[in-house]
Amino acid sequence: MDAIAELARDAAALRRQEWRTPRWQRTLRAIYVIWLRDVIRYRRDRTRLAASLAQPLLFLVVFGVGLSSSLGGLGGRGGASATFGSAGGSISYIQYIYPGVVGMAVLFTALFSSMSIVWDREFGFLKEILVAPIDRSAVAIGKALGGATQAMFQGLIMLAIGPIIGVHLTPLTVLEVVPILFLLAFTLTAFGVAIAARMRSMQGFQVIMNFLLMPMFFLSGSLFPLQGLPAWMAVLTRIDPLAYGIAPLRTAVLSTSGAPGAVTRTLASVTWFDWQVPSILALGMLSLLGAVFLGVAIRAFRVRD
């Protein structure tokens, strides 16, 4: 049989070459493969794509359009939409929550993509990867990058929807927003991966996720400004990783609204003891948190019982 002869010839060659590539190179390739697999799966799974878009869209419509209309009516301004800020420019509520809902899309996608780890380790691709001659940090990094890519892509779709529902965006804003989205997506996926890494049951992971997902979303400043909150809530908002992504995202989106910088900053920023954390520092915090989560995930995957 031809196939057999061929197998034999290549097999002998493969065995001789075994040590030619160093471990770090194999590890890099594994990161690539894990990432690529996530991207391929995401591309093929139209249902998931549709479902994960539906929820943030719903939020945008319900909160953005509904809430801003009714608030506008309550406020007695007579206009069709509620606004923040007074002197100078004004910011519509939909413009305000838009970055928050983009962040939400990223949050959901990131955490759900990390959920597959639990399953995959027992019955899937990861099981295979875990016996490969690579450093297991590849699993954590590859998954974090894969989830981040998906989540960022989701965020980009939301970005494309923005102008359609009346959110003002300039090309420069978009350029500013994309790297922020990626960083946020990476940190949140790393967070999910760190939790999923030692998890042994799907149910357990889901329980923890349900417990974390909504509070993380609500306390991130997605729906309301993080100003003048009760102390205990303020503390929680400051440890919410999502908050450090929403703030710079919103600062970028609101910067084109024509409202004065001071108003924008007040509406958008996370505060530390009444000090408004600048975007660049918030992004630094986000990176730091991402690095910590990734470190935890890597450690968890490296454990050999």
Binding site: I40, E128, P133
Partner: protein, 342 residues
């Protein structure tokens, strides 16, 4: 308590080379539970080695230690000359592993699954696609290369997993229950591939199974029970441990019949699902005596040469099918339901 049958390995394999798998005093404990209690094993290069035992006997734990997925509590093991504890990376490069549970990506195509494996296992680009074609050809899936794995039947998935296990030309292929849940025809096919593979690639196969007819294909077998090896040897040597013939009689009251046989004829009689079971040197001569001795009506009598099932019963005291569900079984059932649904 090892009733090992010491035999030279000379039969089918080449003159004694260094063992490709070498295990000495292997122990694995989880808290107070001793999963593996001091195992010694040698597997010669090119051998098909069968590892038998009921669920929870320590089979999978042993395989996982050999594959560097678990660390041994005590003892040593080496695979392809590398220590599993101190040099796991080298061991991993030399082994292929087919898991008990499916580990293919359902959404990817067969080719993608193999390709990703090849990339991680260092198969150079030049060889990759040729090798993928070759292994797919071998397991008869070449025409399905571009189909998503979720469209495959159970047998096809298994074949693909074996193909993946050999993509990188491992020296040792570990197969954990490779044919579990497959129909006899598919099992026969898989054995064809494995035998072909051994001819073509000089590969050592270490497998666990609880199909006894399948264990017959193995050149050597080790039986593990409660974490310790209770027998080791070629299938024929092991069968030699059971005295002569196995006589099974279906009676009106098997319990009473067994007691009667023990008392009157001084033989060791056990009760199985098929009836009273006795191991005797000469079955044909025993049957008339047995029928005379029994006061309960006898409905059927069979005499047969001992099978590996009998060996298993003898060394472990129970039939291999008396399995208790393991810890991952819940998740596994869920997985199976899920796979079927798709």
């Amino acid at each position: 308590m090892t009733t090992s049958v010491d035999a030279p390995l000379a039969t089918a394999t080449a003159p004694a080379r260094d063992p490709v798998i070498r295990v000495r005093g292997l122990v694995k404990t989880y808290g107070k539970v001793e999963a593996v209690r001091g195992i010694d094993l040698d597997v010669a290069p090119g051998e098909i080695f069968g590892f038998l035992g009921p669920n929870g006997a320590g089979k999978t734990t042993t395989i996982q230690i050999l594959c560097t997925l678990l660390r041994a509590t005590a003892g040593h093991a080496s695979v392809a000359g590398y220590d599993v504890d101190s040099d796991p990376d080298a061991v991993r490069s030399c082994i292929g592993l087919v898991f008990q549970d499916p580990s293919l990506d359902q959404e990817l195509t067969a080719r993608e699954n193999l390709d990703f494996h090849a990339i991680v296992y260092n198969v150079p680009r030049a060889v990759r696609s040729r090798r993928i074609d070759a292994v797919l050809e071998m397991v008869g899936l070449r025409d399905r290369a571009s189909a998503p794995v979720k469209t495959f039947s159970g047998g096809m998935k298994r074949r693909l997993e074996i193909a993946r296990g050999i993509m990188h030309a491992p020296q040792v292929l570990f197969l954990d229950e490779p044919t579990q849940g497959l129909d006899p025809q598919t099992r026969a096919h898989i054995w064809e591939y494995l035998n072909e593979l051994r001819r073509s690639e000089d590969i050592t196969i270490f497998m666990t199974t609880h199909y006894m007819d399948e264990a017959e294909y193995c050149e050597r077998i080790a039986v593990i029970d409660h974490g310790a090896l209770v027998a080791q040897g070629s299938p024929d040597q092991l069968k030699g441990m059971v005295g002569g013939d196995v006589v099974t009689a279906g009676t009106a009251d098997d319990g009473a019949a067994a007691a009667e046989l023990s008392a009157k004829l001084g033989v060791e009689a056990g009760v199985t699902a098929d009836g009273v079971r006795v191991e005797v040197a000469d079955g044909a001569a025993f049957v008339p005596r047995m029928i005379q001795a029994l006061s309960v009506p006898v409905r059927s009598v069979t005499i047969r040469r001992p099978s590996l099932d009998d060996v298993f019963l003898k060394v472990t005291g129970r039939a291999i099918r008396d399995d208790e569900p393991g810890s991952v079984d819940d998740l596994r059932n869920m997985a199976q339901m899920w796979m079927r649904r798709r």
